[in-house]
């Protein structure tokens, strides 16, 4: 048999039906559902008198719109409340497992999927959310879909898809001390630009990727969409299997499952449509300066000027970004003063992220000019962090310690920036207004965010004592 990539194997395993010149009908193993992109899909089912084909392959939680303050209080925003009530009622009506706000297992959908062992190698996983690419860290084909497609999956457990091309992003060598998975993915996006992955499914390979922990791999795959790729994946290996072993919803005969999963990695000699190679040693801690994640530089450098770009469209983009960000170009990154710090999101709110931030914060105080918050990715992450005493470290340093949810990554709930506020954020998007209208977002790693909170400006984490 011709050597195949990880992507090709998963694709082949899931084709239900394919006619020449048409989209393939692919089987979906796991469908994750949240409150924002599902109500219209459930309504569509009702109008057409359809049922959910495989409710047991569908898992729901509320995350985008939930308050991260005291959960014993009612939700203050009546429209948010209605959306969450609607999801609860839809799950009940259609027989879908739903992790409600008071459930200790509630959390960001891309955090709880892996945590509970729903996410497994070789699966096709979809969700009405572009950061579904996170689950690709397990060697799954996972991507975001629109609400019409959510309805299609609910009704048929399949999805119509054009086959994407494959893009290998290989990172050779070892990351230097202080350089994290977040820096790695921001660097890659900076290199390929925000639409470099459009039309592709990315596979991340190379020594620097193989040595990452599962949580770090999730950070990398999470941001695939910020480079334009709907899906990003990493071949499963012992790191993957050890992470999954013992989790609640993994296959009962785990060793048999592992034996099958071992067949998934890309065969020697398999070809990608495109391959790019990078050196881990070239990567320094990264800070975004503009209004898309591809506008990023090393912490020890300067904000670029429009003239630094070659093409006129990019120059215009840079000029508009600088204006929005309240920057002139030429400033040293470490001179940028901050008003807010957000540690959270499906990119960086897992236990290892919180440990990394706490290690920096321990024994320090948040700058008096900065308001800093930590939002765990799930109820389970919160409980574990509290067992390890991380909440105390954060609180004593002056960070606000909150309940799980998407929070200020997209500011749908009350957590948001005021106009003009500058924020160091561990999230995934620095779009205009993403964290609140007029808010200015700089994307960084958890350790860099914590250090910035304490110093009141960006610091090179490699110099942190």
């Amino acid at each position: 048999m011709k050597p195949r990539t990880l992507f090709q194997k998963i694709w082949d395993n899931h084709v239900v039906h394919q006619e020449a010149g048409r989209q393939a009908i692919l089987y979906v193993d796991l469908h994750l559902v949240h409150e924002v992109t599902s109500p219209q899909a459930f309504e569509g089912l009702r109008l057409a008198n359809r049922l959910v084909r495989r409710p047991e392959r569908t898992v729901a939680t509320a995350d985008h719109n939930v308050p991260t303050s005291d959960r014993s209080l009612p939700i203050a925003d009546p429209i948010s409340k209605q959306q969450i009530d609607t999801l609860r009622a839809n799950c009940k009506e259609f027989g879908i497992t739903y992790y409600d706000l008071n459930d200790a297992q509630q959390g960001i959908v891309h955090v709880i999927g892996p945590e509970l062992g729903y996410t497994q190698p070789g699966m096709i996983i979809v969700c009405g959310d572009s950061h579904t690419s996170t689950h690709g860290a397990f060697g799954a084909l996972a991507f975001g879909i629109g609400t019409s497609e959510v309805e299609h999956v609910l009704a048929t457990q399949t999805l119509l898809q054009d086959k994407p091309k494959t893009l290998e992003l290989r990172v050779d060598g070892e990351l230097k001390p202080g350089v994290t998975a977040k820096d790695l993915i921001l660097y890659l996006i900076g290199q390929i630009t925000t639409d470099g992955g459009t039309g592709y499914c990315v596979e991340y390979t190379g020594e620097a990727i193989r040595s990452l922990t599962m949580e770090n791999r999730m950070t990398v795959c999470n941001m695939s969409i910020e480079g334009g790729a709907r899906a990003g994946m990493i071949a499963p290996d012992d790191t993957t299997y050890e992470y999954l072993r013992g989790r609640k919803f993994v296959p009962k005969d785990f060793d048999a499952a592992v034996a099958k999963w071992r067949e998934l990695p890309t065969d020697p000699g398999a070809e990608y449509d495109k391959s790019l190679v990078f050196q881990a040693a070239d990567i320094a801690p990264q800070v975004t300066w503009g209004t898309n994640p591809g506008l990023v530089v090393s912490v020890n450098s300067h904000v670029p000027k429009p003239a630094d770009f070659s093409d006129t469209t990019e120059q215009k983009t840079a000029a508009a970004a600088l204006e929005y960000m309240g920057l002139k170009g030429g400033e040293a990154i470490t001179d940028l003063k901050l008003d807010r710090v957000f540690i959270g999101s499906c990119t960086n709110a897992r236990i290892e992220d919180l440990r990394a931030a706490a290690a920096v914060a321990r024994g320090h105080q948040v700058s008096e000019n900065v308001n800093a918050m930590v939002v765990p990715g799930s109820g389970q992450v919160k409980i574990q962090a509290e067992q390890e005493g991380l909440d105390k470290v954060f609180r004593e340093a002056g960070f606000d310690w909150r309940e799980a949810g998407c929070s200020m990554c997209l500011a749908m709930n009350p957590d948001k920036l005021a106009p003009g506020e500058r924020c160091a954020s561990t999230s995934n998007r620095n779009f205009e207004g993403r964290q609140g209208k007029g808010g200015r977002t700089h994307l960084v790693s958890p350790a860099m965010a914590a250090a910035a909170a304490i110093a009141g400006h960006f610091v090179d984490i490699r110099d942190w004592k």
């Binding site: 010149g21 495989r54 019409s148």
Partner: protein, 198 residues
């Protein structure tokens, strides 16, 4: 689903790259549980000044943009969030066609589900259209999906390149779910063969 065969309409040019779906429809409007009524919130943050009055500099607020149904934009239109609220808002506002050198994958896909035609042209063709939109006011284009031609009244013509199956579904206004369910036996067969039957 709504069909699309041919459409002639006024063009509004938006000279910006990487227009993300957070700009097309900001998050505060995603709390609604309906599929309609998003048009009035389209490009909310760009279309208003801080005091809530219309921003006179914003492209869609220009007098000549009144009634436009074709949006001309730069590369990577619709990037970011998968929110289908973005095409819902564009469609509800009155857009039927969006032209750009490239679109983000999820947005591109979502357009077809809502009877809107996203047209990918070369950078040079898009640049040509930007110039024509300045030269002729008002500027109109015709997108004929049947003959796969985009044209104006001044000699411009470009081929609309679209996957045959998407074109077929859009021309006929076919419901995807109905299409797939014609193959329901295959789905059941797949589930049985893979030990997934309930």
């Amino acid at each position: 689903m709504k069909s699309f065969t041919t459409h002639t309409g006024k063009v509004v040019a938006m000279d910006r790259a990487n227009v993300d779906t957070d700009q097309i429809i900001p998050k505060q409007f995603l709390k609604r549980i309906e599929r309609t009524g998003f048009g009035e919130f389209l490009f909310w943050d760009w279309s208003q000044l801080d005091d809530g009055s219309p921003n006179p500099e914003f492209e869609l607020n220009q007098p000549q943009a009144e009634g436009a149904s074709i949006l001309l934009a730069r590369r990577n239109f619709g990037c970011g969030s998968s929110r289908e609220h973005a095409p819902w808002a564009l469609e509800d506002y009155g857009f039927r066609v969006i032209i750009a050198p490239s679109f983000a994958d999820i947005f591109y896909n979502n357009c077809f589900k809502n009877g809107m035609l996203p047209i990918r042209l070369s950078e040079a063709e898009v640049e040509e259209l930007f110039q024509r939109a300045t030269q002729h006011t008002p500027y109109a284009l015709t997108a004929d999906l049947d003959s796969q031609e985009l044209s104006d009244a001044h000699g411009f013509s470009a081929r609309i390149d679209v996957e045959p199956f998407r074109r077929h579904c859009l021309l006929q206004g076919l419901d995807d779910i109905g299409q797939t369910l014609q193959h329901e036996a295959k789905i059941t067969e797949y589930e049985t063969a893979h030990g997934l039957a309930s």
